[in-house]
């Protein structure tokens, strides 16, 4: 999936990040991109340019907690969900599931209704 998928990704990035954090608890930025890549067999590759603005935005909205730790001589920032974040993650995921359902029924080839006149 190339540039066209970016368009789809933009609206779902928050959902993806929240979902990953809800599953794994505590992650850092690179870890998120890697596990998304693994889970989707490389179909969805989050760039750092898209990821970090979203992470900081979510933090600003009070969805995420951050902890900085020194690992291998450099600072690593870990993110985890706040109670509000957990709630939002659940809501976003179920909303998105409904959306995917709706899209699926849109994409399904419809038998042409040619009722004879």
């Amino acid at each position: 999936m190339e540039s066209s998928s970016n368009e789809f990704l933009r609206g779902t990035l928050k959902t993806i990040v929240l979902k990953m954090l809800a599953e794994r608890g505590r992650m850092y930025g690179y870890e998120i991109t890697q596990s998304v890549k693994e889970r989707t067999q490389g179909q969805i590759a989050l760039t750092f340019g898209a990821l970090y603005p979203v992470l900081h935005k979510l933090e600003q909205e009070g969805m995420l907690l951050t902890e900085s730790e020194e690992v291998d001589g450099r600072l690593r920032k870990y993110y985890s969900l706040t109670p509000q974040g957990t709630e939002t993650a659940e809501r976003k995921v179920s909303e998105f599931e409904r959306f995917v359902e709706a899209m699926r029924s849109l994409l399904k080839p419809q038998p042409k209704l040619t009722v004879g006149h």
């Binding site: 970090y52 900081h56 600072l75």
Partner: protein, 175 residues
């Protein structure tokens, strides 16, 4: 997995700084890139090749694009912030405030006011003095005497304010 040495991390940090990375994001981006380099090294690439590859993906354009998205994402939401921001804050939003121009702009109205008081006060004092001398006898109750006193007060006010401001600036005391 092999970890990068401090020197190798520094190379990456310099690369990010040279390409205009925002200080808010620097540490995180650095960790991100370091992880990427480590991953490529683990795959079998020599460090130089891995570094080259990662640096190629984080050129100036990518970083400035990131900064732009970052500011868009994080500033649009806060309407309250907009009301607090002065014109100077808006002008300097993505610029280096520590360089000095921001402070100069912030202080400009106060500096202007003090200078005006000082000029006016000194002028009144001079007028009062000259008037008094030409008249021959000195009395504070006369027109020239009053002019002298008013001038003295104005000069003292302007000078005092100016002194206070320079002390504040010297010790970086925020009002």
């Amino acid at each position: 997995m092999q970890t990068l040495t401090q020197h190798q991390v520094d190379i990456l940090r310099n690369h990010l700084l040279l390409n205009g990375s925002d200080p808010f994001l620097l540490d995180e981006l650095l960790d991100h890139l370091a992880c990427e380099v480590e991953y490529y090294v683990w795959l079998g690439l020599p460090f130089e090749k891995a570094l080259e590859h990662v640096q190629h993906n984080t050129d100036r354009q990518t970083v400035s694009q990131l900064n732009k998205t970052y500011y868009q994402e994080l500033t649009t939401q806060s309407d309250n912030q907009l009301r607090v921001d002065t014109l100077d804050d808006i002008v300097f939003e993505n610029r280096n405030k520590a360089y000095g121009a921001y402070d100069l702009r912030q202080m400009y109205p106060k500096v202007m006011r003090n200078a005006l008081f000082l000029t006016l006060g000194l002028f009144l004092m001079l007028m009062g003095l000259m008037g008094g001398v030409s008249k021959g006898n000195w009395s504070y109750a006369s027109r020239w005497g009053v002019m002298w006193i008013v001038g003295l007060c104005t000069t003292a006010y302007g000078g005092g304010n100016w002194y206070l401001q320079s002390v504040r600036q010297k010790y970086m005391i925020r009002e």
